[in-house]
Structures are given as C-alpha cells and as structure tokens.
C-alpha cells in the first residue's frame, strides 16, 4: 500500500546517486514527463532537466545537497520527452544508503505561482532596463558635463587672453596719450616764445622794421598761431583719451550758450557772406559743462563755415528729442560728406579728401575731440548728409 502511495502520490518523486544517475522515479513524475519509469531508471538526472536547469544543478543544486545535505524550494525547469518545459519546485534530502549516498527529491508542479513570478520577473526586468537606461543617460550627461566644463575652461582662457590684450591695448593707448601730452607741452613752450619775439619785432622794440619785414613777421605769426592751435588740439585729445578731463556738469540754457559762441564766428561769417539762422525754443536747457559745450559748438560752426561756399547758409536747430534728451543740429549747405565717411570724420587726424579739401587748415582733431566731449557729458555727436546738399551734425545731450 505504501509503495502504491509513493507511485501515485500527487507529486513527483526521484532518487539519484552522487553521479546523478536516477535510481528510482515514481509513476506520477514519469507520466507527467511522458516517459515509462523504466526508460528513466539508470539515466542521468539531467535527462529530465532543461539546459538552464542542468547548469543550475551543477553549480547550485548539487553543491547544496552535497554540502548541506538538503535543498528546499528550489525551482527547476524540467523537460518532457516531447521537449515541453514544466516548472517544478523541488525539495531534496541526501541519505546514506547501503548502495551508497542517494538524494531523494519530491517535485511539485507550479503553475499559478509561476504566473505570479512571471509578473514579478517582468516587472524587475522592466525596472532593470529603466535603471540601465538611466545609467546610460547619466553617463551621457556626465560626458556632456565634462565637455561643457572643458569648453568653459577654454572660454575662460580665451577671455583671460582677451582681457590681457585689452589691458595691453589700454596701456599702449595711455602711453600714447601721455607721450602726446608731454610732447605737446614741450612744443608749446618754444612756440609761445616764437610768438612773443615776433610781436616784439613787429612793435619795433629792436629797431624799425620795413614793410616787407612786417609782412614776413605776420606770416611767421600766422604760422606760429596755426601750429599752436594744432598742438592745443592734440593736447586736448590726449587729455580726453587719458581720462584727465573733468566735467563741471550743470543745467545750461541753450540760447545762452549759442549766444556766447556766435560773436566768435561772426567775422568769418561776414567774410564769406554766409547767413546764419537759429531755432532754439525758449527755456531749452541741457545738462552739460558750459565750456565744453561752447567748444563743441564753436568747432561745429567753424567747420560749417569752412566747408560752405560763399553765399551759403548755416542753420542751428535745437529741440527736445525725448523726455531725457535734447538735440542740437548744425546744418550747412556746404560740400557735404560722402556716405562712407560719415563715421570716419570722427576719427582723429581725418579729413574728407577731395577737391574741396583744405588740409592746410585744422588739425583733423576737432570732430574727434567734440565727439569725445559730447560722450563725456553723457551725450553723442553724429553726422548725416543733408537732404539736398551739405551736412548735418547732430549733438545730443541730457535734458536738464
């Protein structure tokens, strides 16, 4: 009766030697696997294992029963004669028998549990894949981060280089300005002396002078004055560039400033028979250093007179551009400035070349100085072409 129970119990039963040879297999298991019991006896246990189970048997299951004498709840995939896989749970105990050591195993098929396990495994695999993907992304991000760091370092080096170059350029410019300032001073001193002695000669302090000598002395005097003006301009520009100009900014009435400048140019206007009109709203005020503003206006008017042919006209037009800005335009009917020179005229030592060029007069520094002064007071100075002819110089300054 016991033998029958073992044969047909609702679980598989197998006994095998340390060599893995099957000594006994019950009817339940052999039937489930599609074998006659006699077919399996004497064959290796691996016969009924799927390949994964064979390796697992060699690496885990056998060492376990050999070393610990038992194995519990080990999952193994068995293989039927037809090649179908059957998942089974196995408990095993190793015994010493007269015939030698043997391992007895019961196998129980798991179907419902496998479905649950399948779901668990799939969830884990999904999680693993997600983790792997995240890890890959992390590696990518790290790489990008490294690249950005390298680029950032490069940029910083570049920036430092540029900064160093800028500093070097600034220093060179400063040195140039210093040099010009010193040289101008050194030149002015003897020129003033020349001027003084010419005057003394003209006055006849050293004896009577003939008419021809007077004329020569006049010529020397004119050239001395021209040279002196040139040097003063250079000195001014050098001072501005060296940042040594102090501005005494305060509200200034435009009508007053223009009024103070006009008498200075009246003789020239008369000589060239030019007409000058001004349109300045009453009470229009700017924030500026009055002397610097006079200098700018004088320069703009002198230029306008210089480059406007006889019988032409010059116009001063001022007004409010915006809440914070006032404009002052000096418009002439002169030779005008070619389009490509509109910006260049503000560069030092520049004059518009052409048939109307009068290079003997002026240093080519006036506009450069004027623009620097305008900017120094928080404004600007730009040139445009007149609608039909001539030029328009537009000075902007902060509204007072």
């Amino acid at each position: 009766m016991h033998a029958d129970l073992l044969e047909h119990a609702p679980c598989g039963f197998v006994s095998f030697s340390d060599d893995g040879k099957i000594g006994y297999v019950n009817a339940t298991l052999s039937a489930r696997l599609g074998y006659e019991a006699s077919e399996l006896c004497g064959r290796h246990l691996e016969t009924i294992f799927a390949i994964g189970s064979r390796i697992f048997y060699q690496t885990h299951f056998f060492p376990l029963v050999k070393l610990h004498g038992r194995a519990q709840e080990v999952f193994l995939l068995l293989r039927t004669k037809d090649g179908e896989s059957v998942g089974m749970l196995c408990n095993a105990v190793r015994h010493e028998r007269e015939t030698g050591p043997a391992t007895d195993c019961v196998f129980m098929e798991v179907q419902e549990r496998r479905k649950f396990e399948d779901a668990l495994l799939e969830a884990r695999q999904t999680a693993d894949r997600a983790v792997k993907k995240l890890e890959e992304q992390a590696v990518q991000l790290d790489l990008q981060h490294q690249e950005l760091l390298a680029q950032s370092e490069e940029l910083q080096t570049l920036n430092e280089d540029l900064e160093a170059q800028r500093e070097a350029a600034d220093e060179a410019n400063q040195a140039k300005s210093n040099f010009l300032a010193v040289m101008s001073h050194e030149l002015r001193t003897p020129l003033n002396a020349i001027g003084g002695y010419v005057q003394l000669l003209e006055m006849g302090v050293h004896g009577p002078v003939s008419e021809a000598q007077v004329e020569t002395l006049n010529r020397i005097g004119r050239n001395q004055k021209h040279l002196l003006r040139l040097i003063n301009d250079v000195l001014n520009l050098a001072r501005i560039e060296a940042g040594r100009i102090d501005y005494d900014i305060r509200p200034v009435m435009m009508t007053e400033v223009v009024g103070s400048v006009l008498p200075m140019v009246e003789p020239q206007l008369e000589r060239k028979e030019l007409s000058l009109s001004s349109r300045i709203p009453d009470g229009l005020a700017v924030r500026a250093d009055v002397e610097k503003l006079q200098q700018i206006l004088l320069n703009l008017l002198t230029n306008a007179i210089k480059f406007t042919p006889a019988n032409g006209s010059i116009e001063i037009d001022a007004g409010i551009r915006s809440k914070s800005e006032v404009f002052v335009k000096v418009i002439d009917t002169g030779i005008g400035i070619p389009q490509d020179m509109l910006e260049k005229v503000f560069e030092p030592f520049t004059q518009v070349e052409g048939k109307h060029q009068r290079s003997a007069e002026g240093s080519g520094l006036g506009l450069a100085i004027s623009r620097d002064l305008a900017r120094g007071m928080g404004g600007d100075l730009v040139a445009t072409r007149g609608i039909e002819k001539g030029s328009i110089f537009e000075l902007t300054l902060p509204h007072a």
Binding site: D18, D19, G20, H44, E46, A50, I51, G52, S53, R54, I55, F56, Q58, T59, H60, F62, P63, L64, K66, L67, H68, A71, Q72, E73, V74, F75, L76, L77, G87, E117, L120, L121, A123, R124, A127, D128, V131
Partner: protein, 245 residues
C-alpha cells in the same frame, strides 16, 4: 595551496580536498566578495563586472599573506580567474590546478563551448526564479543586505551566496566571458582536470585548453559531472598528488 571556489558556491566546497594536503602545504581558503561569509561592504559593482575583478581578489589574498610559489587550485570559473591572476603576477605562482575549466562557455564558430546563448539565459532565469523569494531581489541595492544580515545568512545556507544580485552578476561575468586569448600568455605550468561527462565543460574544452596552455597536463577523470572535488574527492586528490609529485 590557494583554493578558489567556483560560481554558485563558497570555500566550503573544498572540505573533502583541502584537509588531504594540510600536512604538506600551507592551505589558504577564501570566499570571493559576495559569496560565503564575505564582507558585502567590499562589493564594487564595476570591479566585479568582469573576471579581472575576481582575479584581483586572488592577488589581494596573495599580497595580504605575502604568498609565494602558490599552487593555485581553482574550480570551474576560478580556473580562468587563476589564469588572469597568474598572467598579472606570474612570479607568485608555481602551478595552476584547474578543475573543470572553460575559457568560453558559448559556442563560437568552430570552437565548442557547449552552450548557445539562450542556454545561458536559461540559467539566468533559473537563478532569477530561485532568488525571487529574497526580499532584496527586486532592488539592485546590494548594501541592503548589510542592514539585514539574516537575509544573507539565509541565502548562504540555501545557495552559498550572500546576495542574489551579486550572484546574478557573477553568473554573467562567468558565463559570458571569453578568456581564450589569455591562455596563450600563461607562463605557469598547469594541470587540467577534465571530467568524463561534464555538461558544463565538455571534453572538447579540455583538449582545447591542453592545446592552448603552454606547459599543461590534461587528465581525463573517471568522475562525471562538474564537481569532481565534491562527487569524487578521492580521485581528485590522487590526480593532484600525482601531478605535484
């Protein structure tokens, strides 16, 4: 003699063999990190992602004990781990005894390793299913075990591994490895113990190793299976003694 256990086991597997050599040699046994009673805190996923990391374990043991003229006895995957270690510091080794070695488990062209990739995946599935019961299986955080050593104990008792995730990675490092090129570099004489019916390392693999390993001796054992040192300790001891002379 330095005994290195194979995949799926720990140093316990040597208990039928090692005592036999106690009188003649200094015996050194150890567990790889993640196996037996090793310190899980020392596990480093990237180091142990390939067999080189395990070879470093062997060299670490050798340096720690300042071992010289080591007779390295390795089972299964440890054979290749021993080869890698000996290739790094040949001067430390006198002999390599390789039990059931295989430089590559997956067939490759005319090379017969014994398995196709899907077979190896079958093993991974078997491992996954058998480790499902362990609480930390679903989380790849190995260190969890350090807080709950009883889990590791339980697993050690059941599968000689202290952590299913480490065991799983060890399986991948082992069964997906290809160390055929490393064989040619070996400068230490070796004994290959090949079982007569080993489905993990078929006999062709034993002959392949004999051909590629300089100064090697191949002995085909009567023992069957993959663990002759456990199933047939007597024959295993005899062949090792015979080789060592």
């Amino acid at each position: 003699m330095l005994f290195a256990h194979g995949f799926g086991c720990d140093q316990n597997m040597w208990r039928f063999i090692a005592p036999e050599f106690e009188n003649d040699y200094r015996i050194v046994l150890f567990d790889y990190v993640g196996s037996g009673h090793s310190d899980l805190g020392s596990y480093d996923a990237s180091r142990y992602s390939s067999l080189e990391g395990y070879a470093q374990d062997v060299l670490d043991v050798i340096h720690a004990l300042d071992l010289k003229e080591v007779i390295f006895v390795g089972h299964s995957v440890s054979s290749m781990i021993g080869v890698l270690a000996a290739n790094q510091e040949a001067e430390r080794f006198s002999d390599l005894i390789l039990i059931g070695p295989s430089p590559r488990y997956i067939n490759d062209g005319s090379y017969v390793g014994g398995f196709e990739r899907k077979d190896i995946e079958g093993l991974f599935e078997m491992m996954d299913r058998n480790f499902i019961g362990w609480a930390n299986f679903l989380a790849p955080a190995i260190m969890k075990n350090a807080d709950r050593p009883e889990l590791g104990e339980e697993l050690t008792e059941s599968f000689c591994s202290t952590d299913p995730v480490i065991a799983r990675r060890f399986a991948e490092a082992t069964f997906l490895a290809d160390n055929r090129d490393d064989l040619l570099q070996v400068k230490v004489p070796s004994l290959i113990l090949q079982c007569s019916d080993d489905m993990v390392a078929p006999e062709q693999v034993g002959h392949y190793l004999k051909e590629k390993l300089p100064e090697s001796t191949l002995r085909i054992m009567k023992a069957t299976g993959h663990c002759p040192h456990m199933s047939h300790p007597g024959e295993t001891v005899e062949l090792i003694r015979d080789y060592l002379g």
